[in-house]
Every structure is written in C-alpha cells, then in structure tokens.
Symmetry: C2
Subunit: 342 residues, 2 copies
C-alpha cells in the first residue's frame, strides 16, 4: 500500500507543509489539505491552542476514515503527553509527526500512547542520520520517516548530510534491516519543482516544504520576516546553522544534537565577531519590542528568521493552494523534461 493511499483526499505527487511551530496553524493546514496536499499544524508548548487549532480544522474540513485530514507536529522533548493526548484523542489527526526527542527511545514511548488513543492515525518521525533511522525503525516502527537534510531551515540536526546522499542511504539501510515498508519523505532545501522532483527521484514518497510556505499568507508570520524571506538570495551563504539562535532568549533548551538554520542576523554576526551572549540577549530582547519585531532585511535584525538554503528560490507571496498545485505540476514536468533531454 502506497503512503498516499492512507490519505484519500491527496493528489500525487504528495506535497506536505512542515509543521512549523508558531507558524503553521489551521489556516495553512486547511489550505494545503484542500489543495490535495497534507496540511500540518505545529504545536510547541500550548496544548489548549492546539485543541483550538484542531477545532478550527474540524469545522473547515470533512473527516476521512474518521480522521481529521491534517497532521500535527509535536516536539517530544518539550510536549507533556498528558496535556497533548486529550486533543489528539478528541480530533484524531491523520498524522502525528514527532521530531526532536531527548533520547531516541522516547519516540517509541510517545508513539505507544498516541496509538492507544487514536489507532488509525499514522506516526511519522523526522530523522537526520542512518543510525537514528535504524534505531527508530526498530523501536518505534513509525509508518513513515521524514529524512531531513542539512539544508533544512529551522530546527534540525547540527551534523548531517544533504538529502542527495542521506535519503538513498537511509532507504537502503532500512530495506536491508527489514524495514523497507516504512515510507520515506524528504525535507531540507526543497522549495520548488526541481528540488521536489529530485527528492522523488531519490526515493521519497512525499516532499515536505517549510521555507516555501513562509511565502503563503496563510502562514502566521511577522510581515518583516516574510519580507526577509522573499528578499534573501544565495541561501547557502545568507543562512547559517547555529545553536546561537536557541540561546537568544535564554539558555538553550534543545537536546544536544539539534541546532537551527536562520537567515544571518546581527545577533549571529556580532556573536561570531566576539560579542558576549549576555549583550546579544539584551539587544535581542530590546529589538523584539519594536514594531518590526526585531526582524530585518539584508543581514539586519536580531530575531531568528528560520529559513532553509532554498530561501533564494522563494521570491513572491503566494497562496498555499497555489504553491501545492504549482509544485505538484512542476514535479511531473521536470521528470518528463529531464528524461526526454537525456
């Protein structure tokens, strides 16, 4: 059974929005799902807000196989499962996406509790290495894993590889270990048809985009942050992975293997130039009170602006549905054009 068969409202190729905490809410998820993709909502700390978001989805979209046709992203190292489970049980999202656990075995513990309250929902786990994929496959047996490459924006793995090598190696290693039935998705650096076509050629059954959806008005985003996304060029040069972005509001709470990719900001540049963290934090807190939220363009701004290396390919504001339909069409066009020119 192909992954997409579990999501009867979706169209091929499968396009998914990353469950970006604080940014991917019900408006984005509903728009992506309505366009034949899999929409996702990102939850961080606030489970009352998650319930509220899912209630909005429920009023907007019909259920499929008794499940709400969206995914919910949870961060196992943050989430209190006792608080999250009531909303998950009540709304039964089609997917629960897990990313960032303190220990790899925590994914299995989370998954067990989720399966108990909503056995029909799929469990997806995002991974960044072959070793983690093997361990998680063994312990947690997720329905799918999202293989996140080093190009991804926002939180990811400090140490990793691009999807060009990571996805095929994970795929082969899982198959060799008897876990070939776990579907693979790809994320990290994919913002349009060529990257998405590449991901499918690498073996993905769906592609997950975050940065591209920051251009959608349905995504909750400060307007200056959105402007910075549309203005940024040369993504490998003007974004950077660093733990600093998790230090700006106080001590980093993320587990050791994680960091985040942001557009290069003054906070980063000044810290790299030797400014102490206390001073960086003070300036960050002050800047955050301004009307621009501390966001800025052209290397300015102090607030983190999560973005992947594909940000230079994101050039205009565009409704989420249009993004989903455009990328879906481009994937087929790219594959056919590539085959025929070779």
């Amino acid at each position: 059974m192909a992954l997409r068969d579990h999501f009867p409202w979706t169209q091929s190729p499968l396009i998914i929005n990353a469950p970006m905490g604080g940014h991917a809410g019900p408006d984005l998820a509903v728009a992506v799902t309505r366009a034949g993709g899999l929409g996702q909502i990102g939850a961080v700390f606030d489970m009352a807000e998650l319930a509220n978001h899912l209630s909005k989805v429920e009023s907007a979209l019909p259920r499929h196989n008794d499940l709400l046709p969206v995914g919910v992203g949870l961060l196992p190292f943050i989430v209190k499962m006792d608080e999250a489970l009531p909303a998950i049980e009540k709304y039964r999202p089609a997917v629960v996406w897990l990313f960032a656990a303190k220990e790899l075995e925590d994914y299995a513990k989370c998954a067990e509790r989720i399966r108990k309250v909503t056995p029909g929902s799929q469990i997806w786990v995002q991974v960044g290495s072959v070793a983690a994929a093997l361990t998680i496959a063994e312990q947690c047996k997720p329905d799918a894993m999202c293989v996140q490459g080093i190009d991804a924006g926002g939180h990811g793995f400090e140490k990793g590889a691009g999807i060009v090598s990571l996805l095929p190696e994970v795929s082969d290693a899982l198959a060799a270990a008897g876990h070939g039935s776990i579907a693979l998705l790809a994320s990290g650096g994919i913002t349009e048809g060529r990257g998405a076509a590449a991901a499918f050629a690498l073996g993905a059954q769906g592609v997950v985009m975050g940065t591209r959806f920051l251009s959608a008005p349905e995504t909750q985003l400060h307007p200056v942050y959105r402007k910075a996304i549309l203005a940024a060029k040369d993504g490998g040069q003007n974004t950077i992975r660093a733990k600093l972005f998790d230090e700006l509001r106080g001590p980093n709470i993320w587990p050791l293997p994680y960091d985040g990719r942001s557009i290069v900001t003054e906070s980063f540049t000044e810290h790299a130039g030797g400014a102490g963290i206390e001073e960086i934090r003070r300036l960050h807190a002050e800047a955050g009170k301004a009307k621009d939220g501390g966001y800025g363009l052209d290397g300015k701004g102090r607030t983190a602006m999560w973005a992947g290396t594909g940000v230079g390919l994101v050039k205009r504001e565009q409704p989420a549905a249009e993004i989903v339909e455009e990328v879906r069409r481009q994937v087929i066009e790219v594959l056919e054009r590539t085959r025929s020119r070779l």
Copy 2:
C-alpha cells in the same frame, strides 16, 4: 548546442570523474572516457607529472576534434601557469577544469592564457555559491560551471548548500543575468543512480563523482584508504568538513573560503577534544611512515581520507567503466520509475 555535443565520444547521461589531485591519473581518465564518460586527471604541483600523464592518455585514446578526450583539473591558487601551459598546449585536453583561486578574478586570467594556447578546449570552473557563479560568469565566461554542494568530499567550500537548492538557484540567477548559455554540472554527494538522477532533475547537464570512483582500481589510492571508503557508513555522521585536514602537514596553504571533507580520523577527534596542533602534526607525521600510510578504519587513522557524504553508498570495489555504465543506466531507470509511480 548541448554540452555533450562538444564531447562526441560521450554517451548520455554524461558522467564525469572529479579531477582528484593525487588520485585521478591517466588510468582512471582513460577508463572513464572509454566507457563514454568524460575522464579527468587532477594536477596539483607537479607539471612534469601532468605532462607524463597526458602522454599516457595520448597513447591510449584517439583525439576528437584534435583534442585529447579528457579533462585536466588545475588549482589556480597553486599552479604556476608558466609551468602548466606547455603541457596544456602540447596535449590540448578537451576540458581544463579550474577550482580554488585566491581571488575570483584569477579564473579569468587563467582562462585567457589557456584559451590562447588551446582555443578549442573548454574551460570549466567549479563554484559553491550563487554570488561566485555570477561573478565568474561575468569575468571568465566559462563554457560550464560545476556547482559543488556541501556534501562533496575533498576540498570544497566551508560555507555552502546542498545541490538540492544550490543548483536551481545558480541556474535561475545565471539565466536572469544573461548567462543561461553556460552549462551546469553537479557535484557533491552523488555516488549512484538516484543521486545522479536527482542532479539531472535539478538541471545538471552532467554529474561529477569523486568518492564513487575511489572504489575503482584505476584510481591511485592506498589500499587501506580504499578499504575505509568501502567500510564507511552514515556519511553525514562519519565524514566531516574541517580546515584541520589542511593543517596536518604544516600551515594551511588553501585560501580562506575552502576546507575539506574527510572521513572522521583520530587527528580530527583528538584535535576537537583539545589536543594541540603541534602534537596532532607530530602523530600524523609518525603515522604516515607506517605501512598503512596512517590510514585506518572505524575512526582510526591520522591521514586525511577525503570522502563525501555519499560514501556510505559506496560498498564494493568496481572498475571505473562499470561505474560509468551502471550510473548511466540507473539514471534513466530512476527517472522512468519515479515518473511512473507518481
């Protein structure tokens, strides 16, 4: 005119070996070209050796359009052009591949001198950012650029992106600036058919592989280094980019933007753990005198073992011709299979 039309002996899709200095010699170049790819030789300091290598190619392969059907890789920041040009003029390789200049404008200076002595040869430049691609296109007008992603093994750009986002952004930026006629190749993390198919989907007219060809007996490589390549897994975790690898034999001579990706060695681990560079160098020099050349498996060894993140997909020794033919076949299979399953 498609890039491949300049190389009438090649078959589509175009497969190229990276001109790995000290490793890619005439045996590899001849085998790759004979198999319908573009074989390349890497030169570093020794131009008498380059002439000797090209003379061997000349005895093995017929000329095409009066050019030797191989490429020659030169490092502009190292090479003395007065020493290199006589060999280039005498043998007229089909391609001169330039990588790593002190200043971007040096590419144009090199190219001018090369074009004077062999106007029929193509000039290719390897780049790692959109900004560099635009400047080099403007100043040097190369026939092709190889877009090198961050996954590449050996020397590359300390700061960059994977090909999934870098190649499309370079492609769009060049087209917008009126340089759309410059062909693009892809390197970095490509070791087999899926990665190569992805690169073509991203817009490449040819793929360049280094790490994969380390498995070929035609590549000059210490047997322990080759064993380490075949044994390495989880390429994003067990290789690392670092300037340290250029510090092992003395002060780093590479220009600032460059570093190199190697399998993780004891030199790296101990230096990261706090050991001073003088002690690391002493142990490195000592280890290099042993029969194993200071190479080792499973995190052992002190000599750099350049490898890309795709190393985990390279599992057995294989003749270069077989690699070229296999990847060429796989690219078509992958594209057709991907299109038909979507």
